[in-house]
Symmetry: D2
Subunit: 354 residues, 4 copies
């Protein structure tokens, strides 16, 4: 079968690989719609180390074409939403109630593109199908469902980590698709003022629609100074959803004592996170620094879909570019890699008459 991915670092390519095989608890899925993500392009450029002959992609809605003998809830023909984090629920890591994203080791539940081929293929493999897949509800468009599997689940995880209280002032650094979902999630978690840090006009517009009350731009000066000034001392909660190693200390600096810094940004393996001790109150500030990967599995995605179904959020606003046809995955991926100014999130519909 064909799939789009990488021959090696910085060598994107169409690959010809064997169709995946379903073990007893697994499903084989044919994608109906996929979305490239900056984690895919990050991998292409070596951000997660060496990698060869790997199909990329970890966001998909698809149709089941085969299930293993122990799968009881799904059958071929079912249209399913596929979480980007699919724990192996027999691993003890899922029994740690702090997160199931690390089923057997760090990020062990992140299988696509990391431990096996991804979703940008004619077919892809899903482990523990009963526990990980969700039937697409009739009332939810494919593209909205597709936004839950990583963008919304990850952005909302940032919000969960931030532990927002009613009326808190929240900063979201970075308003790419994950940051925008963090803005929407912060509003839906009771934030008062939401300060979004970013510059792209497209993103600024959506940030406001999702609930941002203030926009801060790097172009207007130091973002820490701006935020400390406008909040009279700092934010209650700061979510990092973009940036680079410098963002770490900035986030700590702009957050008040007893605040929380919550990271959902994927730092690069080459980066070092550092902060002068005084920004952290010499260790005495009771500012928590958290960072994590979104929970996996079917229950999580069902909750995200419930929010869409009940009109709480419309994640399809993220989608700025729509592509049609299997072969368009290449164009969509290249667009993601180039990140033109008007891009937020591209989607490829392999099948679009559903």
């Amino acid at each position: 079968m064909r799939g789009y991915g990488m021959k090696a670092v910085n060598q994107p390519a169409w690959l010809e690989k064997e169709k995946p095989v379903a073990g007893p608890m697994d499903a084989i899925v044919r994608p109906i719609a996929i979305a490239p993500c900056s984690s895919d392009t990050h991998a292409l450029h070596g951000g997660s180390g060496e990698k060869i002959d790997t199909i990329l992609g970890h966001e998909a809605v698809g149709e089941i074409v085969e299930v293993g003998s122990l799968v009881t809830k799904f059958k071929p023909g079912d249209v399913v939403v596929v979480p980007c984090v699919t724990p192996d629920w027999e691993q003890l890591g899922v029994q740690n109630s702090r997160s199931n994203a690390h089923d057997s080791h760090l990020m062990g539940s992140f299988k696509f593109l990391s431990q096996k081929d991804g979703t940008m293929a004619e077919f892809f493999h899903v482990n523990n199908a009963d526990a990980n897949l969700v039937n697409l509800p009739d009332e939810i468009p494919v593209e909205s469902a597709l936004m839950t599997v990583d963008m919304m689940s990850t952005g909302f995880h940032g919000v969960e980590l931030a532990e927002i209280g009613f009326g808190d002032t929240v900063v979201v650094i970075g308003i790419g698709p994950v940051g925008l979902m963090a803005v929407a999630g912060a509003k839906l978690r009771g934030a008062g003022r939401i300060i979004a840090v970013g510059t792209r006009p497209n993103c600024v517009k959506i940030a406001k629609e999702y609930g941002a009350t203030d926009i801060v731009s790097y172009k207007d000066g130091d973002i820490v100074e701006q935020i400390v000034a406008m909040t009279g001392g700092g934010s209650d909660r700061t979510i990092i959803a973009g940036g680079n190693e410098k963002t770490f200390a900035q986030a700590v600096a702009m957050t008040r004592e007893c605040g929380v810094i919550a990271n959902v940004n994927f730092f690069d393996v080459s980066e070092t996170l550092s902060m002068p001790a005084y920004l952290w109150g010499l260790g005495m500030s009771n500012k928590d620094i958290r960072g994590g990967f979104c929970p996996g599995g079917a229950r999580r995605i069902k909750k995200m879909l419930e929010m869409i179904k009940n009109g709480r959020v419309d994640p399809s606003k993220l989608i700025t570019h729509r592509f049609y046809g299997f072969d368009a995955m290449e164009d969509a991926f290249k667009l993601m890699d180039e990140k033109p100014a008007d891009l937020i999130k591209p989607v490829v519909f392999i099948e679009w008459d559903k």
Copy 2:
């Protein structure tokens, strides 16, 4: 000075009392707007036991007329929002991080009408002024601010106790003003489906505007059966914001295993709360039963005001009846006591040209 209250149980009356005196940390406040509450009428009818010669009322926005010698943040002339819960911050009970509503004993932080005269008077007394009062922000109407001091803070406390997760199905039993605020708060805390239990057309309309997706009425049959059927097994979280002793078991019955029942309803001293053990999974269901009084103090109210300022919620929708003039307190109180079908919340403006 004059104040409206009770001579004894079931004897409402205008009372003539001494003007309160400010201790070193206190303030004396002249009400600009007050709102009667069902806790006031409840007290009148003996719901909290014997009580004589007491001015009622515990919701107010007012103007400071006098401050004690140790008060540093406020001065006569300041217009302030007055929390209904005003802890004595020198008591050790406030150092229990689970709630400061019980500063020295059960509900010790609830002073108005309970431990001293209330707010329906020419003047009223506020303890620990620096820690309890909040300046009315320019951009917030008096009536909106007035809704924060009990209705919003209490309804939102129900939501906090319920510990809602993104996408959870939440039931709110009772859609008087506190229940309506719980509906609004549940939406602002990430609920998916919100099922409001109530019948009054006025309230049903506002419940929907605040985020209720479903309305369940006692008139259509047993509410437990209806809710279990429509949710396929029960709610994730249930907030009790009205009802009587029977509501307790109903709430437990309609909530799934691992759910939370959160009470902010004032039960009557004559009532007994009971449930067949099997509804609670014979004690094994991991359904938490919580109930509490809203946190007090200035920080809480500031957070509530932040939410209004940033457009997250408009609690003034609760106000169905507006009265003008000091003497109108009597009419407003009687209306509260009669609870006609179109009443949600009455407000009395003692001064209305601000």
Copy 3:
């Protein structure tokens, strides 16, 4: 194969049944040691409703005799500790981070004696073996390990639910084996004063060894009055580990505002739990009422074993009666049913030269 259990309610008997069959993820285990529990005798007497032809028992250490084709961590001959709660980790209920004890429905993870035959047999069946079984560590005696699977895990769950803070005053009502483990767990969670409610000399002695500082007996008067008096107003946390429907209101009554009542007692299906509303502060006391079933799976038991291995607790103190040989299960079970004054916990060693 033979097993001891019940033909019907109140009809204990040896049963002849087919040897269980291992599905692909399962194991078949031969018990080395088992312990009868009051939940078994409770079932015999109809406490959990009708039940016929069922082998009882849910506490065991055993030797694996067979594993399914997908089991990777265990093989025949392995000596394993078997949790009494064995979730089916492919069910979505385990993805609710509040508890995995309810994998598909209320107490769905409690399989033995409830949904299939129990452990008092020549062989018993364990679902999801990789995720539920734990190798017996060399340094831990069989009988100590056996005490972790229910007594220690359940008693410690009571402590977890109680959310004890450093120095808190904790009451444990009932000092049978679960209550004694709750006493030990409360000490290991930072309690200051621990007041144990019970009378049996054997149990009182062990309670003191485990950390109880005070013993309160029903024989000396009303336990609520005694505890309120000796604590100057009530406990911070109260754990119910025994008693009957009346215990519920007593526990609420003896707990201070902002306290927690944590239940791990199995109430009878015929009981009704009730409390006068004023004991619960008319719903305003911020006293949480919690009750639940211990978490299941291998990780939980590994943590319990870690505590034994590091000398934090010795649960073998619970064992007052030791029986030897497969057939002795009947005598041990009858002793459990009779509950003589000197009994805390009986154990049956089917094999005892290990």
Copy 4:
């Protein structure tokens, strides 16, 4: 009056200052016993910036000599335990339930030596006496009570921040007096294995008595490698109670995914805390990094005293050197500054016949 402190950075001296004056809510206290702390010597050497003419010391048990007009619970002659953190409870910072250590700004509740003269004087000043002071219980020795006000409260705060679960493997880096208290606290919070990092024989001995199961020394090689190897992948929880800027990354490195790093070490204003991003799972590891100052006020100290009273911990084991007489403060302070190998904690008894 006389007091021992600093004329300027690196200029220790006896100072002659005015006797402090009690405001209406304050008390003036004469020390009975004090203990110098490394935070005092740290201040002397400029670790917290410029400082002149300041009496040092923040740990004391003393006798009240004067109270303000609003103080109701204490009177001259009372012997009291004085928390090192004494919030001004009228400040809004205490209403943030995450910590009251920052009442008006970062560490605003830390008054002694930081915002006013410390406890190493003939008399010292305590704000908000009713809310901050605790009567010394008859059954607790002065020196044990003295260990609660900072050493035990701070060490135990590290344990609270670490959020230890039953059976968790906990590392404590640094076994000076605070680290030793963290070891004792970790045991009292349910830890399984406790690995203490340190080398001084005196401290190692006490660490084992307090519950450490393993000792790791810098002298035997890289501590991260040692701990990762002996735990098979890292600790569940790591408490930093000593070290320097390099300790930060080490702590992150030796902690597993979903773990917690909890800091109670006072870093120097000149230090920068940094970690390669990969040690933090590129931001995706769900390892929380926390650090804070112990809660203040009377309730906290009462809880600590409860633990001593009930035999849960004996903090007087920390005391290696006892001095007698007011003038001995100088010698004790100099000893603290020199930190000879056999020193853990010195105490000065100004009065010792109580």
